[in-house]
């Protein structure tokens, strides 16, 4: 444990966020339990992915971790201090270290500010450099995220979704952060553009020595760039583990269902497999017992009454399910991707080789 704590950069302890909503019901104010008792460690230099369907509390958790909102309960430790209890002024100074990339680059960028002003703002707020230095820094950041330096004088509406997301990333990098939290930074983008942005984030992480927390609703998207994954359902973490281990053998029925839902780009994989039915239930009145029991194919009577605790089952592996051993035994043979045909493999490797060579010879830019 002691060796583990040394490189923990950000830690949530029993975090909860309740949003009061609507009328008083029988004298009691109802509330949405958006995040409900989450404990989580983020290690320095890693990429941690938080995955779950819409409405599971991922954005709320991300905002709590950076204290963009205050928790109803619990603590968030950064650099040994509980930032959930820090005075506002001190918190503002810490913002330099902790930055956010929003899901919708449209709504998160001020349409009346030029791209240059948008990227410069965090540097101004934290009093970094003088105007001339900042201007140069903006140009450098723009080039670094694959855009042209001249774009500084343009406005957000002139850019495509992928370009706007690059602008959002440049802005997040401007203050020289240590931790970057991306709330579904690629979910709204085309698949081809997702790949560009994911590769960019991966490069920047190395270059700027960042710790990344990536929120996603799709397990495939973060497979290639995360070291660890936490799966969230209705405000709780239901499984957590190292990426390779978790994908090789998910232990929670929900994780497995998320994997099975991903369309595989091969018509031979067309599945008749069991699919998750229904929607995520309302967090206003979460199901009793295991919150997943209303949709779980393995649910039994015990699941409906007895809430499974998140328990350590292997080093670095936690799961909250009464029947995780059964999930482990059943395996995920159905998930195996059929191999592409020889012709397809040959041409795909031809394509990849040519693209790589080209991208190495021409400095990556423009897009």
């Amino acid at each position: 444990m002691s060796s583990d704590t040394r490189d923990v950069i950000l830690e949530a302890r029993n975090l909860a966020k309740r949003f009061p909503v609507g009328m008083k019901l029988f004298g009691e104010r109802q509330s949405v339990r958006a995040v409900d008792g989450v404990s989580l460690k983020v290690h320095r230099g890693e990429t941690l992915a938080v995955v779950g369907e819409s409405g599971c509390g991922k954005s709320t958790l991300a905002r709590l971790l950076l204290r963009l909102i205050d928790p109803s309960e619990g603590e968030v430790f950064y650099g040994g201090r509980n930032i959930a209890a820090l005075p506002r002024a001190e918190m503002r100074r810490l913002r330099k270290d902790l930055q956010f990339v929003f899901q919708d680059p449209f709504s998160s960028l001020n349409p009346r500010m030029s791209v240059g002003a948008i990227i410069e703002e965090p540097m101004r707020v934290h009093g970094l450099g003088n105007a001339a230095w900042r201007r140069e820094e903006v140009a450098r950041l723009l080039t670094r995220v694959g855009l042209r330096a001249e774009f500084a004088d343009r406005y957000p509406h002139e850019f495509s979704g992928g370009q706007r997301q690059r602008i959002g990333i440049a802005r997040a990098l401007a203050s020289g952060p240590k931790v970057l939290i991306g709330d579904e930074p690629v979910s709204a983008l085309d698949v081809s553009i997702q790949a560009q942005v994911i590769n960019l984030l991966e490069d920047l992480k190395q270059e700027y020595d960042l710790t990344l927390v990536l929120i996603a609703h799709d397990l495939a998207v973060i497979r290639h760039m995360s070291d660890r994954v936490a799966v969230m359902y209705l405000g709780e973490i239901v499984e957590e583990g190292a990426t390779a281990a978790l994908y090789a053998a998910p232990l929670h029925p929900y994780t497995r269902a998320l994997m099975q839902a991903i369309p595989i780009p091969s018509p031979r994989a067309r599945k008749a497999a069991v699919k998750l039915t229904g929607d995520v239930p309302s967090p206003l009145a979460p199901p009793s017992g295991c919150r997943f029991h209303t949709r779980c194919p393995l649910a039994d009577l015990r699941c409906a009454v007895d809430r499974p605790a998140l328990q350590d089952v292997e080093p670095g592996r936690r799961v909250a399910c009464h029947h995780w051993q059964r999930v482990a035994k059943e395996g995920t043979a159905a998930l195996a991707e059929p191999e592409a045909s020889q012709a397809a493999r040959r041409r795909l490797s031809l394509y990849r080789d040519r693209s790589e060579r080209q991208q190495n010879s021409v400095p990556q830019s423009e897009s």
Binding site: D190, V191, A195, R223, I262, D279, Y351, S367
Partner: protein, 341 residues
């Protein structure tokens, strides 16, 4: 691929329900065609997927077929779209309005934009039935209930009186499907019906569409930017890039024998659940806008195989195998570029 006379390939293939021939569209004043010579067809019971990145002209194409593209600013440059023997592009606004919602229907990405927030979903389905059928209120409402049950909305009877905002995104998309299918259309165009949904809900909706299509024999054109979705549901595929179809064929051929560099790029950029295998391959850059369409092959600025000839000559869509065609002057690539050279 085009035939001037009515010489349809006899017997061999199913008679298409919709045959689009050499469709070209432009927006008034722009330098090039936003849709530039597109041909495809779809038969009853068949699913055609049109796949390409945002901005490739997929929505403009489908809106034009449904008579929903405002003209002006848009104009038809050439081409025709034969549906049950009539050219959709030549119909009056009134005539095509009569077909839409009846013989053919469309579903959009964001149901909230096509559902009216102030009417219950039951009323909206009933209203589309009554617009095209001589039925009374009770009968229309019964049909609405039947449709909600068919698209598997739980507790359909109760949900009939829900307003759209009371439903989840997945449920609203089911309602859209119910509305579209209410009058048993022969053709359904679904424009990115699952793009705004979680993967879990996407899987449910794709299953539902597949199942309903088997029941009804409707011809389905499904538009998407995601090849994973294509693999799940398509019989035939048309890969669209910058207003042109660059590859087309049966779904098996597109994945097992992909020819066009754009198709290869799309396949490569789909993230998979497989082993962490280094960087994701991407397609650099982005789709050109109409005022900046490159001459020659429109994919050339992003194509790793492009050379000077590509930038001047438009590569024709040429057959590489029966029913499988690609618009690349260097297809098959290995013949010109050797293996992993």
């Amino acid at each position: 691929m085009q035939s001037d006379t009515a010489t349809l390939p006899a017997a061999a293939s199913r008679t298409p329900l919709l045959a689009v021939e050499d469709l070209a569209l432009r927006f008034g004043g722009s330098a090039s065609n936003v849709v530039d010579g597109v041909s495809f067809d779809v038969a009853a019971g068949e699913t055609l997927c049109i796949v390409g990145e945002s901005g490739c002209g997929k929505s403009v194409t489908s809106l034009a077929l449904m008579g929903l593209l405002p003209m002006p600013p848009a104009e038809i440059v050439r081409g025709r779209a034969l549906f049950e023997g009539r050219d959709l592009l030549a119909l009056s606004r009134r005539e095509i309005g009569k077909l839409r919602g009846d013989r053919m229907a469309m579903i959009f990405q964001e149901p909230m934009t096509s559902l009216n927030p102030v009417y219950t979903v039951g009323d909206q389905i009933a209203e589309i039935v009554r617009r095209h059928r001589p039925v009374g209120r009770t009968e229309a409402r019964a049909r609405a209930l039947e449709m909600l049950e068919r698209v598997k909305v739980p507790a359909a009877k109760r949900r009939l009186d829900d307003y759209p905002h009371q439903m989840s995104g997945g449920m609203r998309q089911r309602v859209m499907i119910a509305m579209a299918l209410a009058n048993d259309p022969r053709l359904l165009i679904a424009d990115e019906p699952t793009t705004a949904l979680d993967v879990t809900i996407q899987a449910q909706i794709l299953d539902l569409m597949r199942e309903l299509q088997q029941e009804t024999g409707t011809a389905l054109i499904l538009i998407t930017h995601d090849l994973g979705v294509v693999a799940e549901i398509a019989d035939k595929v048309a890969v669209m890039y910058a207003g042109r179809i660059v590859e087309t064929g049966p779904v098996g051929a597109i994945f097992d024998d992909p020819q066009h560099p754009y198709t290869l790029g799309l396949i490569s950029s789909v993230p998979s659940l497989g082993e962490r295998g280094g960087r994701l391959a991407t397609i650099p850059g982005m789709v050109p806008t109409v005022d900046r369409m490159p001459a020659g092959c429109r994919f050339a600025p992003r194509c790793p195989f492009a050379d000077a000839a590509c930038r001047t000559e438009v590569p024709p869509l040429a057959e590489v195998a029966a029913g499988h065609a690609a618009a690349c002057r260097y297809a098959p690539l290995e013949r010109h570029f050797g293996d992993a050279a």
